[in-house]
């Protein structure tokens, strides 16, 4: 094989390319059957808002998957973070940015607590975050009913509605306005993707996190501060979940205990469809975005065809199951193709690998 065709196969076997092609095919297909699908105000706009929120939720899960753990409390952390923002907006009338910061701190603190329990008490992440999600399920509504009357807080802070509900078409420089259907909140998600992307691809801490995910024992014996990195990812996960909760609240204008209820399934779907390994050691930010996008496109498409929410959940659950099987198939196939590739590059050495295989 020539190096060019090698490169081509490696691009095509990258599942992110497959996802992108699948998204294009789906959009064209649904759009040609239901032209309504391309309506900026009724479909594209809300869909991009959902993609923005769920991408941040997906990142919240992805950062924990990177060390081979999971966060079953993303929904609860989103709820309590959003609640923190809402309370300071309502009670102290703080500016927008301060409210967001408070929400992130609250979410991050809850995440850090989980991280400490996992890293130092040695309890499994599954157990800790499951317990945390139950605690939050009780705590959040209790606080809401204590601080507000209608079990929801409506926030009027200047800027919030603009951030949550305006589109690029509302922003004009002179006579040129942005395209209709692109919500401003999408850029919050893009900013989160850039930060997390830089963390994992360029920063030392990100490198240490991925090595911890690859083998925590080897990481510990290579002078990587493993407990600290486990706390780092859980804190980060809590902050990202809180950010997603805030985004959801901002997009509707009302902060309720129901925020985050449908986050958990989505949080796994995005990263796993996008190629992040459940076992840890490898993540993909773009993949998470594409994975979320495809689920949201399918959801919107089916809604247009009149499929109910129950049908949707069955479908999304099925997709998750298939994605998990694909995760396994991909890792086996990937190992095989890498082995083949390295054999071709160096026949002398490959005997050893053949023996291993």
């Amino acid at each position: 094989m020539t190096s060019r065709s090698n490169r081509l196969t490696s691009v095509l076997s990258d599942n992110r390319v497959g996802l992108l092609l699948l998204i294009i095919v789906l959009v064209v297909l649904i759009g040609s059957l239901k032209p309504m699908f391309f309506s900026p105000a009724f479909v594209i706009g809300p869909m991009l808002t959902s993609i923005a929120i769920f991408t941040v939720v997906g990142l919240a899960q992805m950062v924990v998957l990177s060390v081979g753990q999971m966060n079953l409390a993303v929904g609860g952390m989103a709820a309590i973070g959003a609640m923190g923002s809402a309370i300071v907006f309502q009670a102290f009338d703080v500016p927008l940015i301060v409210g967001i910061a408070v929400g992130l701190v609250v979410g991050g603190a809850v995440g850090a607590l989980c991280g400490v329990l996992i890293a130092y008490a040695g309890v499994n992440s599954f157990v800790v975050t499951l317990a945390m999600s139950f605690a939050l399920l009780g705590l959040v509504p209790a606080v809401y009913s204590w601080v507000s009357t209608g079990n929801a807080i409506t926030v009027q802070t200047p800027g919030l509605a603009e951030l949550g509900r305006s589109k690029l078409s509302d922003l004009c420089i002179g006579d040129t306005c942005g395209p209709d259907g692109v919500p401003l909140i999408l850029f919050v998600a893009v900013a989160a993707m850039i930060v997390i992307g830089l963390l994992f691809s360029k920063a030392r801490i990100g490198r240490e996190i991925l090595l911890t995910g690859s083998s925590d024992r080897a990481a510990l014996l290579s002078a990587i501060p493993v407990p600290r990195r486990i706390i780092t990812v859980h804190t980060l996960s809590g902050m990202l979940a809180a950010l997603a909760g805030f985004m959801l609240g901002a997009s509707t204008g009302s902060f309720t205990p129901g925020i985050g209820q449908e986050f958990m399934l989505q949080s796994f779907l995005g990263p796993i469809l996008g190629g992040t390994l459940l076992a840890g050691g490898y993540v993909s930010v773009i993949g998470t975005f594409l994975g979320i996008t495809i689920t949201v496109v399918i959801r919107q498409g089916l809604l247009l065809f009149g499929v109910g929410i129950e049908g949707l959940n069955i479908l999304l659950g099925t997709i998750l199951l298939i994605a998990l099987s694909a995760d396994r198939i991909r890792s086996v196939a990937g190992a095989r193709s890498r082995l083949r590739a390295s054999r071709q590059q160096s026949p002398a050495k490959s005997k050893e690998e053949a023996v291993v295989s």
Partner: protein
């Protein structure tokens, strides 16, 4: 015509993997009652042949004749039933199971769908007694050291009571005394008329215990079932590497033991059971810790690194007391590096690239003020150690899991060379690697000492100790029983060391 004089005969077996011929018409004849050595460097095809004989992989062509009958096994189970027992090189025990359960694994006695636990216990006890391995069969395997685990593996090979027993590097990670026990069993089994095929990198063992030899090089048999008495160690090494290898130049070393030691343990007792352990390593000196399995050697290294609690006594680095709580502390505050004995589980990130593995200990140094990794510097560091250690890779972004054992060991060591610590603890430096690479490792360790680094080597290979180190500290039962200056004379040293293991604490200081 088939000849029934052989318990096992391999005739012209060829095995090709995509792009490479792993075995090229190899022959081997194994007689009942003989101990037959199968030698070859890493990648010469020994393990592939064993996998074919035991039904794990099929051959492309050629015949396998067992007791005069041409056979081809489709599964490991079929091979076991045909009387072929095997001890594999890789440790294959299930750590959630007990010792007994692991020993009977794959051959569990079942009657009417129910496991016969009494038979399991008694069968396991029988082979453990045979090995003189004093352990309760009900012990969970997770509590065993790597060497004890290896003994369980050997016990499993003996359990099936096979006419042909294949031993694939069974002594790679066990100590001299345990090896002796194993060879006692091997000789007993061969005296009963069983045929033993023994794969090893340790030529001393081979010459001490084997009758016949087959040598593989690059997938071909360059010596086929010949009497071992026709060869000397030198001629075997020539056959193995295919050219006359320059004999290992052992440098004349006599480093000073005066002045402040780089690393010193004073009456150290630990939570895991060490009592009053004291020794010192001076700058430029190589000290070896030798002891039997369960003597607490690797555990001591882990205690120095803060992975076990030191209950009494103190660790001194450059003369002042050190508080080491983690490997990060050891590296960052005291300049101590640790190369583990278990490179696959503890030393390497197998699914990460060679470059990432080599730079893991120096990420801080390779990062800028904002905490971003300086990629160019990281690549340069990786390339530097790939070149200086002669790691065979297609490029620095190859995954470490794809490398051969010797090259993996180089990466595992290389990441600590990159850290450039003044004190380096190396646990089993050459486990499972071939003659040529071993020599390169020794040269490297001597060079480190020449640079003034203090090196602590832990090994269960006495020949390695005698070649490599300046002073041998002997441990037994989590205590230091004495230490001797190394004279580099194998017979003399092995006598002193064995005496230290078996007698009560005496300080034998010579020279």
């Amino acid at each position: 015509m088939t000849d029934t004089a052989y318990a096992l005969e391999v005739r012209g077996i060829t095995k090709t993997f995509p792009g490479v011929r792993a075995l090229d018409e190899v022959n081997l004849r194994l007689k009942p009652g003989e101990v037959h050595a199968l030698l070859g460097e890493n990648g010469a095809g020994k393990s592939t042949l064993i996998k074919i004989i035991t039904g794990i992989q099929p051959q492309d062509s050629g015949e396998l004749i067992v007791n005069g009958e041409a056979r081809s096994f489709r599964s490991a189970h079929e091979a076991t039933r045909a009387g072929i027992g095997v001890v594999h090189q890789e440790r294959n025990v299930i750590t959630d199971f007990t010792v007994a359960e692991n020993i009977v694994l794959g051959n569990t006695p079942v009657k009417g769908g129910r496991v016969q636990w009494r038979e399991v216990r008694e069968g396991a006890k029988r082979v453990l007694d045979l090995l003189d391995f004093p352990i309760d069969p009900a012990t969970p395997t997770s509590l065993l050291s790597p060497a004890q685990t290896q003994l369980v593996e050997i016990a499993r090979g003996l359990y099936t009571d096979s006419a042909v027993l294949l031993l694939d590097e069974p002594t790679a990670s066990i100590s001299e005394t345990e090896s002796k026990l194993l060879f006692d069993v091997v000789h007993r089994l061969s005296a009963q008329g069983r045929a033993i095929l023994f794969v090893s990198h340790k030529l001393e063992e081979v010459f001490a215990h084997c009758d016949t030899v087959t040598v593989f090089r690059d997938g071909r048999s360059v010596a086929e079932s010949e009497p071992l008495s026709n060869y000397s160690k030198d001629t075997i090494v020539d056959l193995l590497v295919g050219r006359t290898l320059a004999k290992l130049e052992v440098p004349d070393r006599s480093p000073s033991e005066r002045g402040t030691p780089a690393l010193e343990l004073r009456d150290v007792s630990t939570f895991s059971g060490h009592r009053d352990v004291s020794f010192a390593v001076h700058p430029g000196q190589i000290v070896g810790i030798y002891g039997l399995v369960g003597a607490g050697r690797s555990e001591l290294a882990k205690a120095i690194l803060g992975l076990d609690r030191i209950t009494e006594g103190e660790v001194l680095v450059n003369g002042s007391a050190a508080q080491i709580r983690s490997v990060g502390d050891a590296l960052g505050r005291y300049g101590i590096g640790y190369v583990t004995e278990d490179r696959k589980a503890e030393g390497l990130f197998l699914d990460q690239t060679v470059a990432r593995n080599l730079t893991v200990t120096v990420l801080k140094r390779l990062s800028n003020a904002f905490g971003f990794v300086r990629e160019r510097a990281a690549r340069a560091t990786a390339d530097e150690y790939i070149a200086s250690l002669d790691v065979k890779v297609s490029n620095r972004d190859q995954l470490v899991g794809q490398l051969s054992g010797g090259n993996q060991q180089k990466v595992s060591l290389g990441k600590w060379l990159a850290a450039n610590t003044d004190i380096l603890i190396i646990d089993e430096p050459t486990v499972g690697i071939d003659v040529r690479t071993k020599g390169a490792f020794y040269q490297l360790i001597w060079a480190l000492a020449e640079q003034g680094k203090a090196v602590l080597v832990i090994s269960s290979d006495l020949a390695e100790m005698v070649t490599l180190v300046d002073r041998i500290v002997v441990m037994q039962d989590f205590e230091v029983t004495g230490s001797v200056l190394n004279s580099h004379e194998y017979d003399e040293m092995s006598k002193s060391v064995i005496r230290l293991i078996h007698e009560e604490r005496i300080d034998v200081v010579e020279g």
